[in-house]
Subunit: 599 residues, 2 copies
């Protein structure tokens, strides 16, 4: 059902654009190249950096990128990293998109896992594949970068699996409309889209007149009668709950652009608010009605109690994946739950398709104001940042995370890699206006390095604070070369490299002492100089082996404000695991056993 709705909505958008274009027909018209048309659209969307790797099928387009006055070509070390970077960029730059350019076949397939991650996690990314000329696409000669069997469409078929819209610019007549169609899909549905750009189409001349009509996130309108009914239902349930309501904020609040609407609702109602791991920092963690991270059985016991004892949970933008829900251990009956989603609402057992939260929320807020007085009485225990006092001078997981928590500042962007870091950070409340970036659902190891590159470029655009990455040694090995691109562009992230001799998350899930979970140790503190800081002036690297060394570094204002890229190798025990990860791994095993029996 929903597919049809979004399809129709796309068509409505397209037709509106067509009509607006026709209306402009006689008002003057400039002929510009397809490349310039596309780049102007991207500029309108706030894109300032484009990621990718050159190849003979995309270089004609790269000429235009390189010559563009406001858009910068980043030039990654490889395509997967470029896709991760585009993902990270989009996550830190709301209302903009990430863009990655690859070459036919070899390049685009190398990037596909990064695109799939953006699909899974609902991040708007445009993947532009430079492809052979329109003539060659028809005659299909035995070109390099092909499978040698004249199937030129295989790469698009693969892309169809992991993007929501695709366009092939096969002729200039449809080119501008096609570009607009997929870009509108990208921004309004927050998922990756794919553009095949033949070499000879790049410089074809097209009318610029559509550019006068800005692209917009047009959402399907809610049916007013149904919407009114839903509002009544919600109010009824809130009444029955005697205002003992807790709001639970999840990933789709930021992904589907209702952060402001949710903030208004919270301010108006004073309902206590909790977040899931994927929703972390969507609500400012210093906000006085914010109570911490709820993650089912893995939650801090106080938080678990507060959330699960509420008479009603108003869940906004839920994405109930395994690691985001403590392996599906929510103990909240459906009769105590209202769920608001981008395209539907659930009130207890009742489903209301096609009622989207973006339009519903402001109306809900004005109807819920009356509950403020009662809701204000609900107690919220603010999560505390306490560094435990331990006997050992070793850097333990239980010590490390709260300690770095004290190092964070307002407006920092904090990126954590799948694994130890994603779980370690959960118990750390973050300062106001910090942005937390992670890939908890898709969980592709190595993602955080590319993502940090993109996040750092976006943070620079937005004037945010420091970009701080937490990553394990195992994960760093997958995508390490992108450190080089950070240095190249003068970016200054702080990278905490947890050296704990291999894949700690994997050990906890299976094969604790297996050799396949070991990795080769690297000279981590030589990485930045080896990979581009040849004179050693652009970077700093450190190894901290115990608490004293870590404390000293974190307290050093030069370190905190270095203005250069820094890597801190943190030596930790191979088997030491953050509390939340240990519990998640145990629940994961139990879950697998249980689901095997149920069947």
């Amino acid at each position: 059902m929903q597919a049809t709705l979004t399809d129709l909505q796309s068509e409505v958008t397209r037709l509106r654009h067509e009509l607006q274009s026709l209306a402009l027909e006689h008002k003057g018209d400039e002929q510009i190249t397809v490349a310039d048309y596309l780049l102007t659209r991207l500029e309108q969307l706030g894109v300032s950096s484009i990621f990718g790797v050159p190849g003979d099928f995309n270089m004609p387009f790269l000429d235009y990128v390189e010559d563009h006055p406001t858009i910068k070509w980043i030039g990654n070390c490889n395509e997967l990293n470029a896709a991760y970077a585009a993902d990270g960029y989009a996550r830190v730059k709301p209302h903009s998109i990430g863009v990655v350019v690859t070459t036919f076949g070899v390049g685009e397939l190398s990037a596909i896992n990064g695109i799939a991650g953006a699909f899974s996690e609902m991040v708007p990314v445009l993947h532009i594949a430079g492809v052979p000329s329109t003539t060659q696409l028809k005659t299909r000669p035995l070109l390099h970068h092909t499978l040698g069997d004249a199937r030129f469409d295989v790469f698009t078929k693969a892309a169809e699996q992991v993007t929501i819209s695709q366009a092939m610019l096969a002729n200039k007549v449809q080119a501008t409309a096609e570009i607009d169609r997929i870009l509108t899909d990208c921004v309004s549905r927050a998922r990756p889209v794919y553009l095949s750009l033949p070499t000879d189409m790049v410089s074809e001349k097209v009318s610029s007149k559509r550019l006068k009509i800005p692209l917009s996130r047009i959402l399907p309108p809610n049916n007013p009668d149904v919407e009114e009914f839903v509002l009544d239902e919600i109010i009824k349930v809130v009444h029955e709950a005697e205002s003992n309501v807790v709001v639970l904020v999840d990933a789709c609040v930021s992904r589907h652009d209702v952060k402001d609407e949710v903030k208004d609702l919270l301010t108006a109602t004073h309902f206590p608010v909790y977040s899931t791991p994927m929703g972390k920092t969507t609500i400012d963690e210093e906000y006085d009605r914010y109570g911490g991270i709820y993650i089912g059985s893995i939650s801090d016991p106080v938080i678990k109690e507060r959330v699960e004892s509420a008479n009603l949970i108003l869940s906004i933008g839920a994405l109930k994946s395994d690691f985001n829900t403590g392996m599906f251990t929510y103990r909240i009956p459906t009769t105590h739950t209202i769920e608001l989603h981008a395209d539907h609402v659930l009130v207890r057992h009742a489903h209301f398709p096609k009622i989207g939260m973006k339009q519903l929320l402001p109306k809900l807020t004005s109807r819920l104001r009356d509950f403020r007085c009662q809701a204000s009485e609900l107690v919220v225990s603010k999560p505390k940042l306490e560094v435990p006092v331990e006997q050992t001078n070793d850097i333990t997981q239980s010590y490390f995370w709260p300690r770095v928590g004290k190092f964070f500042r307002k407006k920092d962007v904090i990126v954590t890699e799948t694994g130890t870091s994603n779980f370690g950070i959960l118990d750390v409340p973050l300062p106001e206006q910090t942005i937390f970036v992670s890939q908890i659902l898709y969980g592709s190891i190595g993602w955080a390095v590319g993502s940090t590159l993109g996040a750092a470029l976006a943070a620079r655009d937005r004037g945010l604070g420091r970009v701080i990455l937490f990553i394990g040694d195992g994960s760093m090995q997958l995508t390490v070369q992108e450190l080089s691109t950070m240095t190249r562009h003068g970016l200054t992230p702080i990278i905490f490299l947890i050296n704990n001799s291999g894949y700690n998350i994997e050990r906890n899930l299976h094969g604790m002492n297996r050799k396949y979970n070991d990795i080769v140790d690297w000279k981590w503190t030589s990485l930045l100089t080896t990979l581009g800081d040849l004179n050693g002036t652009l970077s700093m690297s450190y190894t901290v082996r115990n608490k004293s060394e870590l404390e000293k570094l974190l307290d050093d204002p030069q370190f905190a404000n270095a203005g250069k890229i820094q890597l801190v190798e943190v030596i930790m025990d191979k088997y030491d695991t953050p509390r939340a990860l240990k519990m998640a791994a145990e629940l994961s095993t139990k879950y697998a056993e249980k689901s095997a029996k149920q069947f």
Copy 2:
């Protein structure tokens, strides 16, 4: 048509196996795990190394790999590199296959470009994806590594684009037959295949009895009447050519296992033989009737004249891709051509489908013996290895390739990366029994690093000589971390890293002075120590800035026989390009213009 034939052949093979199994039914039967069954099959195929990255969905299988007495888990830094390594391994180990193990979604998509390369270049690779349990595949919970939309089959759909057979081990009843089916396809059709292995199937018990029937490359039999007719036709044409026949050997000779048959034909007939770039070293380059590389207009003029003036070209295993044919510049009329392929024969304009060269060649050889006397009179100019005397002490492309040519020894394995190296090596005749490894059709940059890892493991198994890699700085950046895996396993390749400040092949194709073709310079000689040789005892690194330094190094017996991994940074000019690449780039532009006009 051919698809149906190979499908039928697969079915015949399967049914024969079934029958043989039934026959064995009462002769005793041992119950073993699916994992052990699979590993035994791989062991039978000569597999001694398995590549990949651990993940929670493949670790139950990795337990069996780690415990296997003869198969070694390599443990790569990332999945794309692992797939490239499996490809390189299979290329250097005839009759065996490359195996790569990844985890569901994130891992398998990261590897897919490496698998596509193996498809394109006809390399037998088995891709095993560890996937959720059979229960979870049915209930499809919101697991990590998924796209979050319950489409658990998207990754298989992507794999279907780039593999010839796929199997999902959904139950133990079919497990062994399914494993045998895809492995038979893999070895008999020389293309990658894909296996989905659910976590709970790994330890399921199955009968071991099929293991007694070895897997074999069963080929479709030629129709004897048609085959006889074809032989008569060929003999007739050879007669008309007055024995002025030249044999042209291409990629599919080694890929489709007719190296010995071709050698017999050459020995019996004394026909002069030339090779394409993709066929290089298929025929021993010191063989006295071998005349060098034919690559259309790019060929050495003497070779071009000899080949194109022959009355008949007997082309064996042709793969006429753009870069393999000098951008489609063969000047050989169809009336002067016979082409033998794995599954068909072309005699001038006549097509003979379903006549395969494997069975045809021995018969052809015995019919062609009579021409030996006349053929022996045809002159073959042996390609010479002459190092030019130049004014400059700079290391030029024209000097470098013949000079390293003098460094090569019998049984060396020489891997060249797409770009400068693939073209530079073409003019260098190689010593007897050397093996040349390159990816000229698919041309995915970065491939050679992973491939060298696999090639070095295979070379060690086979007792071959040194493994020598030539790669540019731009390409190295894509996959650099796999150097670490080489050191980890005590492999000792010699790596010539051409530092020429960026993507030289791309500059020649487009954007000679564009910034997008520049890269960041790295401290290349620190790579091996940074990435794993922490004490500096396992590796050596050098920079050579001029001819004197290069000569000195190449003449140093310690260097030539170091027994440790070595990296030589060779400083070369940014714009200096091998002759063959310069010509190929020019022809490429002309070809693009011509094909645009033709349409």
